[in-house]
Amino acid sequence: MKYRILFLLLLVASCSKHPSLPSSFTSVDAEPRICPDYVGVTVPPNIAPLNFLVDSVDDVVAEFEIQNTKLTYGGKRNKVQIDEKEWHELLASARGKNLSVTVYTKKDGKWQAYKPFQISVAEEDIDPYISYRVLPPTFVGYDELSIRQYNLTNFQETTIYNNCQISRGLEGQCINCHSYQNYGTSNMMFHMRMQNPGTMIVSDGELIFVNLKAEDMISAAAYNSWHPFLPIIAFSTDHTMQSFHTREISKVEVMESASDLVIYDVKKNRVQTVLNDSLELELFPSWSPDGKWLYYCSAYHEYLKKYEDTDELLQQYKTLKYNLYRLSFDAETMTFGEPELVYDARSKERSAVQPRVSQDGRYVLFAEGPWGLFHIWHTSADVQILDLQTGELLNTSVMNSQLPESYPSFSSNNRWIMLESRRDDGNYTRTYFSYFDKQGRVHKAFEVPAEDPEYFRLLLRSWSRPEFMKEPVRITPRQFSEKALTEPIKVSQQ
């Protein structure tokens, strides 16, 4: 009797985990519309379960099939939520193969079966962690802002630093530009602005807090890139301004009225000017993985009346078009070569920003929009890939959408591209991944998986500026906040 009850309990438990397929249904000759859209995507074999939902149905069951293994999930109203352990076992056996997914939906008591769709499982893993800023799609206030990290294999999200830890009043504390050296977290950094300003740098595991504003610099250091192996960070320094459209649904225009490039030697606590041409607005430095090139973007702008005339710039914001350049770097002498044009976006009436170079040095990933630098506000902005061997752009249409895409980066093994996109609703930024195969082909992008497939639909905050990491950040939030309450070290200038 005891065993029978146990058996029944186990049966009930297993039934709820693996619902049975409907015995009778009508077939629909179309693939289902699921959210997030995982139909026909290529995913890494270590990704967390691709939970999804189907709109306007009472019940849904999905059957995942690979070779002889079939597993069913669903039965929780309109959501399919997959057991994590089983999913990873399934993916392990599907590495380099295709998963077939058949979706059954129930509406008004009647079941329908959709045409099966494929999910390709790549051979190559994705870096297990990403970090990003979490914030409302705000413009000025910083009351609630955090940098978090997410484990892509199991949905686990933790906070790296939250401005609530020390922030007071309406002005708040802005935190931004987190970055890592070569995907590790022993050397990393992010900025703090407004309250307790400074740059939080982890150097070989040691935490330092620096005021990265030398006298000759336009501003404190901003957009940055760690040299892949030297204790050097390249920065742009700039005056940023922000204005609002009255009718354009892109809503916001961000401009730089002046910008230069510097490098900062973490060990020597010293900055060195790299570029400070008053007619060029140099931005977004990015080291090549071999450390021999510093890529960046720059827009030519000559002020007609006076330098940094913001009114003039406001009138001419559409003329600010950034090209991609690079400088050779000699690590021995710490000197740079002359600017070399990598991609002439201006001639195409476009603006290219945020370059990232692939590990093999062959491809440059960047965001391209109609003008300016903040493409997440430009609806026509896309992520592009330049093949340095051919000088041609690859076809990235399957990765992009009709809405803004921006801030792309390569995974440490080059096979995954991460980008931020507003394709879901036009306003809230989400993280997407796209497989970049060995033949240089880009595959359909998919949204970062969430435990509750409705999560991103309901979340009223953006995930912005995602960065890949091989490991989680080990410095605790409290360590960061305690350090932030100390006086930052003043930087010296060479």
């Binding site: 705000t138 910083y142 609530c164 007071r168 009043g169 002005e171 609703d425 639909r457 309901l458």
Partner: protein
């Protein structure tokens, strides 16, 4: 015989004693009932009769939904369950009468729990109402602070907290009825246990629950309490990233601070709420003294409660009128908005002016009836000595939306969400702006969330048809004019620097449009701003698109006044068809003006003298209200 007589006498004596005893019990009970009735009336009067609009507003600026994300967001910090439950219950002020009854019911139950818990003698039971009266004051004292409250759960949070703290002490005092010595030992376990287990759900009220038990038992438990109060918040929040190191001990206690300012006067009710229950276990020691003593104190306490409620109630007429007008604008009840505008006696706020103008715009009367209403305005309201309330802090998004400036509306809405949290109001604003902008998926996102609330679901369902069929927008009262102004407005890039009215006026007075309704808005803005060039450009534009039509009355007044009184040269009025009554009034106005001037009256005196006869004209407005008043 003798025995019988004794028995009868004894019976009579017993009867007398019983009667006296009944009187002894009945009289305090009757007084208590009277006190309770008086308190209920007090609550009803101040919550519903005087502040229904404020309570509705606080509800509307609240936020609750049935998603796990929201629950998680609430419960990440101490007091999370109170926040979640408080937000849920606050929704019921959607119908102020329902919310009021629920809140009063909660307070009454709190009283009952306290009475049961501490076995308070009937004649002293009125003292249990002291923290409840403080809670009442906390609800009605806010005034303009309602715009910048970060707590979406404010209305019920502290009431639930007090109730929970008293409820938690009930088992200790009633279910564990040991002798004092044993109870003292139990308290040593009870105090840290209650604080530790309930600190996250109840925040500071869990510490209150522990304190209520500790203070009445022994010095050991008081020492333990101090340790508990220090350690429990410290340990339980050690891993959180959502608060500053100085916050754990008082998390959930309402502080009225904004940047460097802190208004302690508004915090007084909460000090009382936290302090008064600590004395509850001691009330029964007062015992049954002479009834007149306790009942006299009861009368004094009742009078004090009425006095406190009256003095804490925020009585500013404009504040309440703004809330009513805002709701009227949102619900497109233009007549109500205009009636409210007409009722105001003294100077008004610029937000009221803008709400009224929106109503006039929607009725096509901006240039024909605007100056019938009072335009004399007060500067931005200052509260707590130094916080200046501008339109940007209040309903900027609603105003922007109604002028078709949806992007600026979204900007202000999101900005407020960042500072003060999401709300039903903001969600509705964001939805409407998204629909006008054609951002359907974005609108769907907000509607999905509103669909998971209790009272906004109907609104969300209604809006869904606009997502499916955008052509319906052009005929619906909520969208018709904002959509028209959005479409007819010009594309610019800039910022408002928190000057909402000025931004709108400046944009529209330069805007040349061929749509008659939108053009009247542009013409009206040029008149408000008193910009000569823009005014005459808009006059020309009006003439171009409305050939043969009479100019609106106020435009005629402005033209006559501008040309003849302000001496604008080079303007040819021969093409204008003037209404003879306007011309006559203009002539009478200038005649009277000269007459009063020659009598040596100063401008202010002239303005007052002209007001009864000409207060409804553009001329009076221009002459008397010298400065362009915008916010």
């Amino acid at each position: 015989m003798g025995t019988n007589v004794r028995k009868i006498l004894k019976k009579e004596e017993n009867k007398k004693i019983r009667k006296a005893g009944n009187r002894k019990v009945a009289t305090p009970l009757a007084f208590l009932i009277l006190f309770i009735l008086s308190f209920l009336v007090l609550c009803w009067y101040f919550l519903y009769v005087r502040n229904a609009d404020t309570m509705f507003f606080m509800q509307d600026r609240g936020w609750w939904n049935s998603t796990s994300i929201f629950f998680h967001d609430c419960t990440r910090v101490p007091g999370g369950w109170l926040a979640w439950a408080g937000s849920y219950l606050t929704q019921y002020f959607y119908y102020p009468i329902v919310g009021t009854l629920m809140l009063i019911a909660l307070w009454f139950v709190t009283f009952v729990v306290a009475k049961l818990s501490f076995k308070v003698p009937t004649e002293w039971s009125f003292l249990l109402f002291v923290p409840i009266a403080a809670l009442l004051c906390s609800e009605i004292q806010l005034g303009y602070w309602v715009y910048i409250l970060k707590d979406i759960d404010y209305v019920f949070y502290h009431s639930l907290g007090l109730f929970a703290a008293l409820l938690l002490s009930l088992p200790f005092w009633r279910v564990l009825p040991f002798c004092e010595k044993v109870q003292g030992w139990i308290a040593l376990a009870w105090v840290p246990l209650v604080a530790a287990v309930f600190y996250y759900p109840l925040g500071v009220y869990a510490l209150l629950a522990a304190a209520i038990v500790a203070l009445r038992t022994s010095w050991k438990s008081i020492v333990l309490l101090l340790l508990t109060i220090w350690l429990v918040p410290l340990l339980e929040t050690s891993g959180t990233t959502l608060m500053r190191p100085d916050q754990p001990w008082m998390y959930g206690f309402r502080k009225f601070e904004l940047d460097d300012l802190r208004d302690y006067s508004l915090e007084i009710p909460f000090y009382i709420v936290l302090a008064a229950p600590l004395f509850f276990p001691f009330i029964k020691r007062l015992g049954s003294k002479k009834l007149w003593q306790s009942q006299s104190i009861m009368v004094v306490v009742a009078a004090l409660m009425w006095f406190c409620a009256y003095s804490r109630d925020f009585k500013d007429y404009n504040f309440h009128a703004e809330l009513r007008m805002q709701r009227g604008v949102e619900e497109c009840r233009w007549n109500d908005v205009l009636n409210e505008a007409a009722r105001v006696k003294g100077p008004v706020t610029r937000e009221m002016v803008m709400f009224r103008d929106i109503a006039l715009i929607n009725r096509g009367e901006l240039c024909s009836k605007r100056y019938l209403y009072n335009n004399e305005s007060i500067p931005p309201v200052t509260v707590s000595d130094s916080i200046h309330f501008r339109i940007a802090d209040q309903a900027a998004d609603l105003i922007y939306y109604n002028y078709g400036e949806t992007i600026f509306g979204i900007r202000r809405a999101i900005e407020r969400c960042m500072h003060y949290g999401y709300s039903y109001y903001t969600m509705r604003m964001l939805t409407q702006c998204a629909l006008v902008n054609g951002e359907k998926e974005n609108a769907r996102k907000y509607l999905r969330l509103l669909d998971k609330t209790t009272f906004q679901r109907k609104w969300a369902e209604k809006m869904e048809r606009f997502v499916d069929d955008e052509t319906l927008l052009t005929t619906d009262e909520h969208f018709r004019m904002p959509l028209k102004l959005y479409n007819e407005g010009s594309e610019l890039v800039g910022v408002d620097d928190k000057f909402v009215e000025l931004t709108i006026m400046k944009k529209w007075m330069y805007n040349l449009t061929n749509d008659p309704e939108a053009q009247e808005v542009a013409l009206g803005c040029a008149m408000i701003m008193r910009d000569k060039n823009c005014f005459w450009s808009q006059v020309q534009q009006f003439y171009n698109i409305n050939p043969g039509k009479y100019f609106p009355i106020h435009v005629q007044e402005a033209m006559l006044f501008g040309v003849y009184e302000l001496g604008m040269e080079g303007v040819n009025l021969s093409f204008v068809k003037f209404d003879q009554r306007v011309v006559d009034r203009y002539k009478a106005f200038t005649e009277r003006l000269r007459q009063y001037s020659s009598q040596g009256l100063n401008e202010k005196q002239i303005g007052s003298a002209l007001r009864p006869e000409f207060g409804d004209t553009y001329m009076w407005d221009y002459y008397v209200l010298r400065a362009v008043q915008t916010n």
